[in-house]
């Protein structure tokens, strides 16, 4: 399924006929202008900072299904690596990629301020271009005084307007002490979980000591075991300028941690986690008007048109479409992938 914005906008195409104050031609022109503006919107720009080997590329791949080759870069490289990342075809859902990301892969500062001084001008040149800055640090590593000093210099003194863009991901949560990750369930042990929570709290506090105006929270995650990728993405999307957040979500394609959970455990856990059923039941042809009422179309022009279209379906087709909310919405508002429903 495409991103929220794409689905909403594609819905405009069908809904265009129901608006009353413009000619059909003008409505169509407005929709086309909006679609063009959407297509022309620049891709999200992500600046990712971290030491070689901390898992930056794996993180990008696990958040955006970008399929980038994982390779260690020399920590002494004195330039940023900018790459346009285009996700591969999503075989499960769509025939196309989720779209372009602009990624700046920045060297970390390690444990020496001399490294930061060497990179400083590079940081100051690249950071203002970011929609979001993701600073990746190993969850296990407690040596963060240089990070604290560097962010204070960059975001506290030089680029304070970029402070809202800053996020911290503490990667390799699965490796945190005592390194006894529950591989069958793909979850941390009790002691690891306790340590991870403490790390998030401590790291966040240290950053806030340096940057009292920073409102984010450090997130522990594991790109490798796909642990808490959603939490990391949520932090990131909040950091993006408000009118650009949908652009990042449009590219979201998270690797699923459940793929790495033992199937027996997963089945039992899914039963526990299942929300109470509230979706529509499979209707019969007699329920056509009620079906339309549930989508608020009963009393408008579009509703009458949709009703006529639904009534023209065979019982089998009606059951297939009206019994599946996504299919029904696509039937009523148009399928953004252009398939026939």
């Amino acid at each position: 399924m495409p991103g929220v914005a794409r689905r909403l906008l594609d819905g405009f195409v069908s809904a265009v006929s129901s608006s009353s104050d413009m000619t059909q031609s003008d409505r169509q022109r407005v929709v086309e202008a909006i679609k063009k503006a959407r297509d022309d919107e620049p891709p999200p720009t992500l600046v990712i900072i971290g030491e070689a080997g901390v898992g930056k590329t794996t993180t990008i791949n696990s958040l955006f299904n970008a399929g980038q080759p994982v390779s260690a870069r020399r920590a002494t490289t004195l330039h940023a690596v900018s790459m346009l990342v285009e996700g591969p075809v999503d075989e499960l859902l769509v025939n196309g990629a989720r779209g372009l990301l602009r990624v700046f892969d920045m060297p970390g500062i390690g444990d020496r301020m001399s490294t930061y001084r060497a990179y400083r001008s590079l940081y100051l040149e690249v950071l203002p271009q970011a929609d979001v800055v993701l600073w990746v640090h190993p969850a296990e590593d407690r040596m963060i005084q240089f990070v604290q000093t560097a962010v204070q210099d960059m975001f506290g003194s030089e680029l304070p307007h970029m402070l809202p863009r800053l996020t911290f991901g503490l990667n390799k949560a699965d490796r945190i002490s005592p390194d006894d990750w529950n591989r069958a369930a793909n979850v941390p042990s009790d002691e690891q979980l306790e340590n991870l929570r403490a790390r998030e709290t401590d790291f966040t506090q240290v950053i806030r000591e340096a940057l009292p105006a920073w409102r984010g929270s450090a997130v522990t995650y594991s790109a490798w075991t796909r642990y808490k990728l959603t939490s990391l993405f949520k932090q990131m999307i909040y950091a993006v300028p408000e009118a650009r957040r949908w652009v990042l979500e449009d590219r979201m394609s998270l690797a699923s941690f459940v793929d790495l959970v033992d199937k027996g455990i997963l089945r039992a856990a899914m039963e526990k986690a299942q929300p109470s059923p509230s979706g529509p039941t499979t209707p019969t042809q007699d329920l056509v008007p009620d079906t339309l009422a549930t989508v608020g179309l009963q009393h408008d022009v579009m509703g009458r048109e949709a009703l006529a279209r639904l009534k023209a379906l065979s019982p089998h087709e009606y059951k297939r479409i009206a019994g599946n909310p996504e299919q029904l919405i696509y039937f009523l508002y148009g399928d953004p992938e252009g398939r026939h429903v």
């Binding site: 104050d21 979500e249 979201m252 459940v258 986690a273 979706g279």
Partner: protein, 97 residues
């Protein structure tokens, strides 16, 4: 990934932890979806003036049209919230081999 199960004494804890992760994952995806929809609406609102000027249609008319369509789509989505979101969540978690 290993198919070795945890010790019987740990099994229930592991189950609870996975269930909790699933729940949290679902909630966060819904939040991300909401953030994205709000953002897109903000972007649309900013676009109204530009579209109005480029097409020569009154901004108020374009805005009313956007409001109208947004209300229809929002109503449709909210009515099918549970199942629609379930499909959304599923679609945003990509299985990789």
């Amino acid at each position: 990934m290993s198919d070795v199960r945890p010790d019987p004494g740990e099994y229930d804890d592991a189950l609870d932890r996975v269930a909790e992760l699933l729940r949290k994952n679902r909630e966060e995806l819904l939040e991300i979806e909401r953030i994205s929809a709000d953002s897109f609406r903000l972007w649309l609102d900013k676009l109204v003036q530009q579209v109005s000027e480029s097409l020569g249609i009154a901004a108020a008319t374009v805005r009313a049209f956007v409001d109208d369509v947004w209300a229809i789509l929002g109503n449709a989505k909210s009515k099918f919230k549970a199942s629609y979101r379930e499909a959304y969540e599923k679609s945003r978690q990509i299985n990789r081999s």
